[in-house]
Structures are given as structure tokens and as C-alpha cells.
């Protein structure tokens, strides 16, 4: 068990190293993308430019520059924004992380539960009217852009019907930390959760249904019936368990990407100061240190999510365990 874990860890470090180099090269070494020009502002004289270049170490060779940036990012953690002078990058990201995690975790719980229900009900009634209705709704969910759903949600819950019994509990936009007011935290996130989850319920529900329908063609389902098991047991114990593999791998990737900043549209629409919004702003201003940090942060989550998917795989399918 130790060896595979160590190997996994080494792989992760290797991948992150690779990502950091690529990101660094894109933003610091692409011809025309002169970071010094961005730091110095629009109307900087060549002298000021040279001074900036020197003080940020940008006149040193590329490997040294890379090492300097990495050192300031991870060791001294005092890399500051190029745009808002003095704003340190790392604390800003650390501050934004709980917001994003709150949003994505909650949405993930909703979408996993509902997608499994949708997938199973559709597969159990395959060909019937329930199946078709669910699959159509799923398609609608997949097709609706998340920012549009979010705006509509806001319109409905914040203004149109806010004063009715249905939505009067919805607090204003923005984030309340969990530890400060747990109940407000929950209430303020319900609508964003649902918004984010809708797309994934549709997607995952459809995928799970397809996998379940495929599983029902397998010989072992026939064996399970021949054993005299109930249909419920066959669904949960035999069909679902073997159908979850695609589901889990998709979940790992999506979850990693969302925590890594992929939920930015939802964050922007609902005014949640999460990592996505941070990335969005950094990109707008071409704020290189921030971009560097958020990309590293996001790749970290994607890599971690991948590792967790692999472990889940082995748990789900013993054949995978032996193939290593």
C-alpha cells in the first residue's frame, strides 16, 4: 500500500512541476508578453521599466526567474499582485478557497444524489414515459447555460418573488462564512448550489442511465435474477455498483476542475468571492502572480481529484486492483 501511495505522490509532484513550468513559460517568457511592462504601468519610461525589471528579477535568466517566482509563491509566500500593489497572492487565494469549497461541495452532494436517483429511475423504467421525461429534463438541464440559470434564479428569488412565502428566506447576494453564521451560510448557498447542480444532474443522470442500461445486458444480471434476488437488490448491488465507474471518473475530474476555479460563472453571478472570481479578475487585469497562483492551485485540485478517482476505481472494481 505504501509503494503505490508514494508513487502517486511522486506523480502528483511531477505533474504540478510540469504545469508550473508551462504556466510560467506562457506568462513570463512568451515574446510580447513583457511582465515588466504590466507592472510598470502604461506610461512608464524605459528607465522605470529597466528598474522594475531589475527589482523583480526579470533581467535574470529564465530558470532563475522561474525559481524566484516559485520561491516567492511557495516558500516565502510574499508574491504580490502586479495590479493592486501590496496585495499578497497566497493569503488572497487561501481566503477565497472556503467560499469555492462551500459552493462546490454542496452542489456536488445535490448533483450526485439527484443524478443517481434520475439515472436509476430512468433505467428501471427504460423505454417508458418516465424514462423519456427524465431524459428530456436532463437534456434541458445540460443545455441551459449556468449564468443564465443563475440570473433567472436571482431574478426570481431576489426580486420578483422575494417577498412571497416561497423565497422570503433567501438572503441577499454574497457569502457568509460557515463558522460565523452556519444557518445564514446554508441559506445563502442553497440557490447557488441548485444552480450549479442542475447542469450536472442532467449530465450525470444521462450517463448513469446509459451505463445502467448497458449493465442490465450483462450476463451477471441474468445470474442475479436466476439466484432469485429482488429487482431492488439487483439494481443497487449488481447494476449500480458496476455502473458507477464512469460516473466516478467524471465526478473526480469535474469536482477537481470546479474547486480549481471552474465554478467562476456561478461565483460571479451570485457575488461569491471564490477562487473562480479571483481567477476571473486576475485574467481581466493580466495579473501574472495571481494567474500563476490560481492556476497552480487549480492544478493541485485536479491532480488530487485524479488520485482520489484512481483509488475509488480500485475500490469499485477489483479487476483494476490486480491490473496494477
Amino acid at each position: 500500500m505504501l509503494l503505490p501511495t508514494l508513487r502517486r505522490l511522486a506523480e502528483m509532484i511531477f505533474v504540478m512541476l510540469g504545469i508550473s513550468i508551462v504556466v510560467f513559460l506562457i506568462f513570463f517568457a512568451t515574446p510580447g508578453a513583457d511582465p515588466a511592462a504590466r507592472i510598470a504601468g502604461r506610461n512608464a519610461t524605459p528607465e522605470i521599466l529597466a528598474q522594475v525589471r531589475h527589482s523583480f528579477g526579470l533581467d535574470r535568466p529564465l530558470p532563475v526567474q522561474y525559481a524566484l517566482v516559485m520561491e516567492r509563491l511557495f516558500v516565502t509566500r510574499d508574491l504580490t499582485s502586479f495590479v493592486n500593489r501590496g496585495q499578497r497572492v497566497i493569503p488572497a487565494v487561501i481566503e477565497a478557497t472556503p467560499v469555492t469549497l462551500s459552493l462546490v461541495l454542496g452542489a456536488a452532494v445535490i448533483w450526485v444524489i439527484f443524478a443517481i436517483i434520475v439515472g436509476m429511475v430512468a433505467a428501471a423504467t427504460r423505454g417508458g414515459i418516465t424514462d423519456r421525461t427524465l431524459m428530456f429534463l436532463g437534456l434541458v438541464g445540460v443545455s441551459m447555460p449556468v449564468f443564465w440559470v443563475g440570473s433567472v434564479m436571482n431574478l426570481v428569488t431576489q426580486s420578483r418573488f422575494h417577498n412571497t412565502w416561497l423565497f422570503h428566506w433567501v438572503p441577499g447576494l454574497g457569502y457568509t462564512p460557515l463558522l460565523l453564521h452556519p444557518w445564514v451560510w446554508f441559506k445563502s448557498l442553497v440557490i447557488p448550489w441548485v444552480t450549479l447542480a442542475i447542469l450536472y444532474i442532467g449530465l450525470y443522470g444521462r450517463v448513469l442511465r446509459a451505463n445502467l442500461v448497458e449493465a442490465y445486458q450483462e450476463d451477471f444480471i441474468r445470474t442475479a435474477r436466476a439466484k432469485g434476488l429482488s429487482e431492488t437488490r439487483i439494481m443497487f448491488r449488481h447494476a449500480l455498483r458496476t455502473s458507477l465507474i464512469t460516473f466516478v471518473s467524471m465526478f473526480g475530474l469535474d469536482f477537481g476542475a470546479l474547486v480549481g476555479g471552474g465554478a467562476l460563472l456561478t461565483e460571479v453571478v451570485f457575488g461569491l468571492p471564490g477562487v473562480g472570481r479571483l481567477t476571473y479578475e486576475a485574467l481581466q487585469n493580466l495579473d501574472l502572480p495571481f494567474i500563476m497562483a490560481t492556476v497552480m492551485y487549480s492544478s493541485f485540485f485536479v491532480v488530487v481529484a485524479n488520485a482520489i478517482v484512481d483509488i475509488a476505481y480500485a475500490w469499485l472494481d477489483p479487476r483494476v486492483r490486480d491490473a496494477r
Binding site: 437488490r233 458496476t242 477489483p318
Partner: protein, 346 residues
């Protein structure tokens, strides 16, 4: 001792006028066309046929495992006095796995890949008996041992893919026998196995009758397997029964041209090697392209005028044959061949 093969002492399963069809875009396709057969207590009945003969569908129909909503199943399947086709799904479920068990051709795909062998046997035991997990596991290990699996306690903790084909089939049989079924349906149980392992599994199935008192329906395409372990044989072709009788009679005096052709097309292991293997021309028809009248008629060397009609099963002693040549007595093939030889008076 096995029951007298030609006259089963008591009937365990009595299938009457069973038909299975499927609705499709091209109309209703008949897979099984009005077949009847019975299985006696402690009897091994072999159902032989090639692809498209309907032998597997027959076994699935008996288990009520045809789940396709487009399937139409007619007739009656009387098991211990009850018509299985009239049972409600719950009653049928109680029967499956407990009274009637089934094993399949490829135990690799027929077992759920994500659970251990022991877990899967335990599951079946606990579906039908009020037993603790521990007791069910003990029973599973005991069964695995009885099936000749070395180190059964360890084998119970293994996943299907970790066992060899032969061991998997043994585990599958252990699972099928876990609730002492009266009837075991074995659908091509040895087709995926090597001959030496096949012999082991056939011996095991033979032993079941002695140790568990089960009757067996053995579905196979292999006349060699039939010759090795059955009491009675039923030969199917294109969804119909073409010949049926005690194994020694059918194999010694095959009386339907199809049975004869099937037996003769197997290269012999003893005696003279034929210069050419006698073969049946053409190939078995697909269910959508079955000929009118006798279904074997287009491939038959002995075809004559009456064959445009569907032949009934003519009974001669314990042997039954669906061929007009057997209308009065079992056909004498040398004679039939002689009168058809070129130059012979018709």
C-alpha cells in the same frame, strides 16, 4: 442409482405446448414453436441443438428469465404441480435459486465482477434462508470444498477474475446448489472450458444427482457431452423438437435425418477415418428465415413429398421423431439411402 431413464418415475417438470415469440418491426418472430417435454426426478435431460435452435431460450423460459417486454410466452410450464407461467413475480422469485437453479456458459461474465465468490454465494443463501452472515459464509466455504475447489476458505475471498475458468465454473455450480435445488439448468456449462477441465465439470454434474438428488437439464451443442452424462436426449432444430428419447436409443439409432447428420459429422475418435466427413449442407436457419413445413427439409438428403407439411412427433416405444420417414416405424437409413441412390427404382 439414477431413475430408470426411459420411464421417469415421477415428473418434476412438465412443459406443455411452449411457444416463445418476439414482437418486432418485421412482425412476430417465433423462436420456440410449440414444444413439450418433461423432466423426471433425478434425471439428466440433455437438450441438444445448434445456434438458433432455441435451446437456450427454452431454458430461460422455464426460469421465466426472458425479460424483454416484447416477448410472448405461451403454453404451460408445470413444476411440482404449479404452472410457473401463472405465478406472480414474487412467487417465481422465491422459486428461482431455491428450487430451480441455473448455471451459464461463461462464468467469467456470469458472475458480478466486483464481489468475491464467497459474497455471491452467501447472497444467494441469504436470499432464501434465514441464516446469519457467518453461517452463510460457512455454508459457502463448505460448498466450494464439495465442488473440489482446493483451499475453499481462501477461494471464497477471491474475485471471479482471479480464478481459472474451471474453478469459476465450480464456484458457479456451488452457488447454484447452495439452496439444494430440485432442478439445475446448465446452459452450455463446459463450452468455454478445456477438455480435461470439461471432463472434471461433467463428472461433477453427474455426481450432483447422487449427492444432492437434483434433476439436471443440460443445454449443449455437443453430442459428445450428451453421450457422456445424460439419461435422455431432446434434439432441437429451428425452435422445434425433432427427436427425443433415452440417450442409448437416440445415439445408437438416430431416427431423424438431422440427428443422424449431426452424429455423423463429428469426426470419430476410433476406427477408420472417413475420407470425407459426412456433413449437412447449408447452415441452420435464422429464426426470421425458417422454411415452411419440416424446418430441416431444405438441408435434408431424404426429403420427399410430405415434407412440405409440419411433421408431428411420431412415437415408437420410448423414442419420438418428428419426421415423416418415421411415420410407421423408425427409419432404416441404409434402406432409405439405397432407394434414393441414382439408378434405384423409386
Amino acid at each position: 442409482m439414477p431413475a430408470e431413464p426411459s420411464a421417469p418415475a415421477e415428473t418434476l417438470l412438465d412443459v406443455r405446448n411452449l411457444s416463445v415469440s418476439f414482437r418486432s418491426e418485421k412482425g412476430v418472430i417465433r423462436i420456440i414453436e410449440d414444444i413439450s417435454f418433461s423432466v423426471g426426478a433425478r434425471e439428466i435431460l440433455s437438450i441438444v441443438g445448434e445456434s438458433g435452435s432455441g435451446k437456450s431460450i427454452t431454458s430461460l423460459a422455464v426460469m421465466r428469465l426472458i425479460t424483454d417486454p416484447n416477448a410472448i410466452i405461451e403454453g404451460s410450464i408445470i413444476y411440482k404441480g404449479r404452472d410457473l407461467l401463472k405465478l406472480d413475480p414474487r412467487e417465481m422469485r422465491d422459486l428461482r435459486g431455491r428450487d430451480i437453479a441455473m448455471i451459464f456458459q461463461d462464468p467469467m461474465t456470469a458472475m458480478t465482477p466486483v464481489y468475491t465468490i464467497g459474497w455471491q454465494i452467501e447472497e444467494q443463501i441469504r436470499a432464501h434462508q434465514k441464516l446469519s452472515r457467518r453461517a452463510a459464509r460457512a455454508r459457502a466455504v463448505e460448498l466450494l470444498g464439495e465442488m473440489g475447489i482446493p483451499a475453499p476458505a481462501r477461494a471464497a475471498t477471491r474475485y471471479p477474475h482471479q480464478l481459472s475458468g474451471g474453478m469459476r465454473q465450480r464456484a458457479m455450480i456451488a452457488m447454484a446448489l447452495s439452496c439444494n435445488p430440485s432442478l439445475l439448468i446448465a446452459d452450455e456449462p463446459t463450452t468455454a472450458l478445456d477438455v480435461t477441465v470439461q471432463a472434471q465439470i461433467l463428472e461433477l454434474i453427474q455426481r450432483l444427482r447422487r449427492d444432492f438428488g437434483s434433476s439436471v437439464i443440460l443445454i449443449t451443442h455437443d453430442m459428445g457431452v450428451v453421450g457422456t452424462i445424460s439419461d435422455r436426449v431432446m434434439v432441437m432444430y429451428a425452435g422445434t423438437v425433432v427427436e427425443r428419447g433415452p440417450k442409448p436409443m437416440v445415439l445408437a439409432q438416430p431416427s431423424h435425418p438431422y440427428t443422424l447428420g449431426l452424429l455423423r459429422s463429428i469426426p470419430p475418435m476410433h476406427g477408420e477415418r472417413p475420407f470425407r466427413l459426412p456433413s449437412i449442407p447449408g447452415s441452420p436457419p435464422a429464426p426470421t428465415a425458417r422454411p415452411a413445413g419440416c424446418p430441416f427439409q431444405p438441408r435434408c438428403d431424404f426429403r420427399f413429398e410430405p415434407c412440405g407439411n409440419r411433421p408431428p412427433l411420431f412415437r415408437h416405444g420410448a423414442q419420438e421423431v418428428a419426421c415423416f420417414l418415421a411415420a410407421d416405424h423408425l427409419p432404416d437409413w441404409d434402406h432409405e439411402r439405397a432407394i434414393r441412390a441414382p439408378g434405384a427404382a423409386a
